[in-house]
């Protein structure tokens, strides 16, 4: 049983909009491997995670945007000072996260 998939399926049954964020690539050192995922519902519930907590707040915002617009997006997070929003990983890795609204 996968708690993220389980939760998203449940939200969809309740006609609640949801977005799924999945780690699709990790370069150098990264806390969690490809396939790790986090989901967000339109009312702001969160299940799962995509890093050691470093980028979750930023991914949450992107997920909420995806829920609104329906536009999927490939995000990249690296070391803090490379990032416009100052969001980054302290471990020095780069992670690529795909965020999509679940309407399938």
């Amino acid at each position: 049983m996968n708690p993220v998939v389980d939760k998203v399926a449940k939200w969809r049954e309740e006609d609640k909009k949801a977005a799924l964020a999945t780690v699709v690539k990790v370069e150098r050192s990264g806390p969690l491997g490809p396939g790790t995922s986090m989901a967000v519902s339109e009312d702001g519930q969160v299940v799962g995670s995509v890093s050691g907590g470093c980028v979750e707040p930023a991914v949450f915002e992107e997920a909420m945007t995806a829920i609104e617009t329906g536009r999927p997006k490939l995000l990249t997070y690296g070391i803090s000072d490379d990032e416009a929003f100052g969001v980054g990983l302290t471990c020095g890795g780069i992670i690529h996260i795909f965020v999509e609204r679940v309407d399938w």
Binding site: V26, R71, P72, F98, W104
Partner: protein, 285 residues
């Protein structure tokens, strides 16, 4: 049923399933989704030609229990890079076979469950191979270990722990284990037991090369004494074997902690097979 609903249902019944997602590609193609099982598929990556290519690739990836990104042309062409498809496998949990229903086996069964294995404990002695002694095991089998192993479903992700340390049992079961593709085979025993067992296996015609596949004495050298400590040493060795690491303290090393995933596709010999050993990958449940 929606794709997400079907995905959940397949995961719940532990059926193999791969999810393919278009993560890079021409405008409008992003987020294309295909659910792929060994027998059918649902959804679309964009067009029929691309779907055909993605389904084929996803089935191959699912068979190896991998998660990776593949590239295609807009119509599924190979050797083109326009479309990137992320394929995530959800394979049933790998199996851990534990032979010898002793106290050490109970601890190894527990740590095996903790790591995400489906744990099967086997012993010929019905008084020892009981549910009371192995509450965490998925299956408890009363049978001669070698006979059981000959009919068991062992693949490259499987691990085999022979804890009987009795020549009557462990020589035949190790011979049977060497006939399988198991990614890890470990055998418990003191140095003396090990030497004696190695000699007997050689007498039985087992080659030096085959003997090298057996981790004996089993476990990493961390000074374990109790069954629980020994189980941790065994678990650590199983993980290190899969990742191609040797153990030791990170504090005394430099370099990356998470080494890149080894390429296991090159050849099926024992060295590569062992890297493919199971463990709790993020994709197994």
């Amino acid at each position: 049923m929606s794709i997400i609903g079907r995905w959940r249902a397949l995961l719940a019944e532990q059926s193999p399933v791969a999810m393919a997602t278009v993560i890079e590609g021409p405008d409008g193609s992003l987020g294309g989704k295909l659910l792929v099982t060994p027998d059918d598929h649902e959804g679309s990556a964009g067009n029929e030609d691309l779907d055909r290519a993605v389904v084929e690739a996803a089935r191959g990836i699912l068979e190896g229990g991998k998660t990776e990104t593949r590239h295609f042309g807009p119509r599924g062409q190979r050797r083109m890079e326009d479309v990137a498809v992320f394929v995530q496998s959800f394979a049933p949990p790998p199996k851990m076979y534990v032979f010898g229903a002793i106290d050490f086996a109970s601890a190894v069964a527990r740590v095996g469950k903790f790591l995400g294995y489906r744990v099967i404990v086997c012993d010929a002695r019905a008084v020892f191979a009981t549910r009371d002694r192995f509450p965490s095991a998925d299956e408890i089998v009363v049978s001669w270990p070698d006979e059981f192993l000959q009919t068991a479903d062992v693949d490259r992700r499987s691990v085999i722990c022979v804890l009987t340390h009795d020549p009557k049992f462990d020589v035949p079961v190790l011979k049977a284990a060497l006939e399988t593709e198991a990614g890890y085979i470990g055998a418990m025993g003191s140095r003396r037991t090990h030497n004696n067992r190695t000699a007997r296996l050689k007498e039985e015609g087992v080659s030096e090369e085959a003997l090298e596949r057996i981790s004996s004495p089993i476990g990493l050298d961390i000074g374990s004494r109790t069954p629980e400590e020994t189980a941790v040493a065994i678990a650590a060795e199983i993980i290190a074997f899969r990742t191609g690491h040797t153990g030791g303290r990170l504090a005394e090393r430099s370099g990356p902690i998470h080494a890149p995933a080894p390429d296991v596709a090159e050849s099926p010999d024992a060295k590569d097979a062992r890297r493919d050993t199971a463990g709790a990958t993020r994709d197994s449940r």
